[in-house]
């Protein structure tokens, strides 16, 4: 009898597993369900800190903001780096200094309230009010008197270069000619925020109010906030009050905060995502070689470099810095370690800033010349060179690159470099206090113009952190601020960059690319140097 029961139990177990297997393997993937619902599933890195465009500073927020908000000028559907009407229907400029924007006559917030020029005035006043403590307030400094208002030198906001000529006309006056304003104004620091909602939940300068919660939030983009579960998902849905709602093709977007690139890639293969934010370095070669239809790589306006502390010997000597720069085999690094189509940086400003800008190609790999310069600086064959560290923040890829550079300097220059790994906050503080020798540094351009890379190296700039300064360099940059002629302006910037690269307070290594995975049914999500997305043009066609 017993064996019959055993056989029966065994059969039941097997049957159960088979049934379970059948049920579980025949359920549709999340992507299939989302395709039917017209919802885009996008990996989005870490959990957003906030949805208040004036308080945000990170990449996850950047990716979400273009769905929820819209600046005066929006990314163009055919080219996200191009200019298309946004909250403003049209605009004109006088000598690139006085800009007049005609707002959309039908422009409304997502609760139906009309958007007027006063909303923009309020927004600019809010981000420039010091008590708010906005990280990106300095983005608005090109505006006349904006810096003085932010630092408290001017108390009266009406002196700042922004005026409402009538409810639908906004005039922005800049300090000097800035042909790049349309590109710059697409950054979220320039986005309008709804006064009526913000003040319903707190003061203008309150950082912790709950106006960005799903039930409360009011925005002006093609989508509005539907739900926001911490560390799980943030969902946006169509905004019926959007002025161009007819163009919007998706019914919604779900942003998934997946912080690990390995997990994100697994989730993509598991059919949970239409598009990832990034992908693991080690997987890139396999996707490239198999010519996977999912794999995409786009150039970015971003440079990876090592900066030198020119306040410390021997890095105060430009010969030493140039020797270090010449001994880095950038080509080998991009081809053998990074392997995602990154370009070796021959200069600081990445290609694509401006088609007419001439990037001075100074950086190259020349170990013989490097040895000669090092000898000239008093360290023949690396003798007597003090040991020093390459400071990096905790990350596997920074470590691999630092190890490679460390080996190159040892091989070509015979100088001893260590790698020092610090937690993000401590790493930033070490650089601000000049307690480092060489430190990794990445700079992401905010708008399409070389000045976004060059202004930070002025003497004493808060982002410089190398102790380097050059009078001639500062002069050239200042002249460029005043120059109204486009070609001459670029000429000045190019001259400045040449000085910078020859002095080498920082050693550019490579220009970033953005590697990610995207399913073929996603149409209209186009590459962008600034990682701007035009969500209203995105479509799902399975």
């Amino acid at each position: 009898m017993r064996w019959i029961i055993r056989v029966l139990i065994l059969a039941a177990c097997m049957g159960g597993i088979a049934w379970f297997h059948h049920v579980r393997t025949h359920r549709p993937t999340r992507v299939e369900v989302a395709n039917r619902a017209g919802i885009l599933l996008a990996g989005n890195g870490s959990e957003p800190e906030t949805l208040d465009p004036h308080l945000a500073s990170g990449q996850p927020e950047h990716m979400i903001f273009h769905s929820l908000f819209e600046g005066l000028i929006a990314p163009a559907p055919g080219n996200p780096d191009g200019d298309a009407p946004g909250a403003a229907a049209s605009w004109s400029a006088e000598n690139f200094t006085v800009w007049t924007f005609k707002l959309q006559p039908q422009g409304k917030w997502s609760d139906g309230t009309p958007i007027t020029a006063a909303d923009f005035l309020y927004s600019y006043q809010r981000i420039l009010t010091a008590q708010l403590g906005a990280d990106y307030a300095s983005m608005l400094y090109p505006m006349l008197n904006a810096e003085d208002y932010h630092t408290g030198k001017i108390k009266d906001f009406s002196q700042v270069g922004v005026k409402a000529l009538d409810p639908l006309t906004l005039q922005i006056t800049l300090k000097g000619p800035a042909p790049y304003l349309p590109s710059m104004i697409k950054h979220y620091a320039w986005f309008p925020v709804p006064r009526h909602t913000i003040e319903k939940f707190g003061k203008m300068t309150d950082r912790n109010t709950r106006w960005t919660r799903p039930a409360n939030m009011v925005c002006n983009g093609p989508f509005k906030l539907k739900s926001w579960e911490v560390n799980q998902a943030l969902e946006v849905e169509r905004n019926p009050h959007y002025w161009d709602a007819a163009t919007v093709k998706l019914n919604g977007v779900i942003f998934l905060p997946i912080s690990s690139d390995t997990t994100e890639e697994l989730a993509f293969k598991d059919g949970q995502l239409h598009v990832t934010l990034t992908m693991p370095l080690s997987k890139i070669p396999a996707y490239r070689e198999s010519k996977s239809p999912y794999y995409h790589t786009d150039p970015l306006l971003s440079t990876y470099m090592y900066r030198c502390n020119t306040k410390k010997k021997p890095f105060d000597n430009p010969l030493v810095r140039r020797a270090l720069a010449l001994a880095i085999d950038r080509e080998s690094i991009t081809r053998n370690i990074l392997r995602a189509g990154q370009q070796p940086a021959t200069g600081l400003t990445p290609p694509g800033c401006n088609p007419d800008y001439h990037v001075p190609n100074v950086m190259r790999f020349d170990p013989a010349e490097a040895r000669r310069l090092l000898a000239e600086a008093g360290f023949p064959d690396g003798k007597g060179f003090p040991s020093f560290d390459i400071l990096i923040n905790t990350s596997e890829s920074h470590r691999a690159l630092a190890e490679a550079v460390q080996a190159m300097w040892k091989e070509h220059l015979h100088i001893p470099a260590g790698v020092l790994n610090q937690d993000w906050g401590v790493y930033l503080e070490s650089q601000r206090r000049f307690e480092y020798q060489i430190a990794r540094f990445g700079w992401v351009g905010d708008y399409l113009d070389p000045s976004t890379f060059l202004t930070i190296w002025q003497t004493g700039d808060g982002n410089n952190n190398t102790g380097w300064g050059s009078q001639r360099y500062d002069e050239l940059i200042h002249q460029s601020f005043k120059e109204g002629d486009v070609a001459k302006r670029l000429q000045l910037l190019s001259e400045a960059e040449t000085i910078l690269l020859n002095e080498a307070p920082m050693l550019p290594i490579y220009w970033y690319t953005h590697s990610y995975l995207m399913r073929p049914e996603v149409k209209g999500l186009l590459p962008s140097l600034l990682e701007h997305r035009c969500y209203k043009a995105v479509e799902l066609r399975p």
Partner: protein, 278 residues
């Protein structure tokens, strides 16, 4: 002692485990010297390659010889694993024993300190250590030592609480035996079992913790690597370059298996009760 050694070696498995560990230690010490490669020597063009006659266990993405790196890393891992565990065992056993024997308020106070340390914000502590004294190697022992002895102390205290009311301990007390005499003659032999078992379980924890700390920047600095660091890197590239995970993982698990088998053997050898049963 000799009798215990004899009992230990009677089991062939114990002898094998011990032999394996001895060979491994010797290999880790002299292996890197015999290897034609330096553990930090790169060959970027080579990238990550499969095992080959030139590189027996393959190379990593920077073209470094894995075998040399594993043997070199073994030194760090064994040193950290065994030393930090020893420190944790000594602190934990003493602390737990004193707490258990003392009882009353002393016991309560000592155990609440353990509770506080359990809830200690470890990541903040590591970041602080790293910020103050960047790269001094001994700090890793401080960081590991701060957390790993806690469970040991609780386990030992539990045993002592159970033992101290047993007839033979009470009898010894009645005869006027001193505190250390009771500890040394009666309690210590009776807690060795759980202590050895738990210690052999602490070693892998410590080695993996060392890797996590090194990743955060405390501990060994690149281009050096320990087993934990190699496994961690290998785990990230698991699908693309499985050998980067498999070989360090094999060394790691084999060592810990040997340590645990030896731990079992030691426990039996030092435990008079279970011997009489065989």
């Amino acid at each position: 002692m000799e009798a215990a050694w004899g009992r230990l070696m009677r089991q062939r498995m114990n002898a094998c485990a011990l032999g394996f560990l001895v060979v491994l230690v010797i290999l880790c010490c002299i292996g890197p010297l015999l290897s034609p490669y330096d553990q930090s020597q790169q060959d970027l063009e080579l990238k990550a390659t499969n095992p080959s006659p030139a590189h027996w266990l393959g190379t990593d993405p920077l073209g470094r010889d894995m075998l040399t790196r594993i043997l070199h890393g073994g030194r760090v891992s064994l040193e950290v694993g065994l030393l930090a565990t020893a420190v944790a065992v000594i602190i934990g056993v003493l602390y737990g024993m004193i707490s258990g024997l003392a009882g009353g308020r002393t016991d309560a106070a000592m155990m609440r300190i353990v509770d506080i340390l359990y809830a200690f914000p470890f990541v903040n502590f590591v970041i602080l250590l790293m910020a103050i004294r960047g790269r001094e190697f001994w700090l890793i022992f401080v960081a590991i030592g701060a957390v790993e002895w806690l469970t040991m102390a609780r386990v030992v205290r539990g045993q002592v609480l159970a033992l101290k009311n047993l007839e033979f301990v009470i009898a010894a007390r009645a005869c006027g035996a001193g505190f250390w005499h009771i500890v040394w003659r009666h309690l210590l032999p009776n807690v060795t079992g759980p202590v050895i078992i738990y210690a052999s379980l602490t070693v892998p924890g410590v080695m993996l913790l060392e890797a996590a700390l090194s990743f955060l920047g405390l501990g060994i600095q690149p281009p050096d690597a320990s087993w934990g660091v190699l496994i961690q890197d290998g785990a990230h590239a698991m699908e693309s370059y499985p050998w980067l995970l498999i070989y360090p993982g094999l060394f790691f698990s084999a060592t810990l298996l040997a340590l645990n088998l030896l731990g079992d053997g030691l426990r039996d050898a030092f435990d008079p009760k279970s011997m009489s049963q065989q």
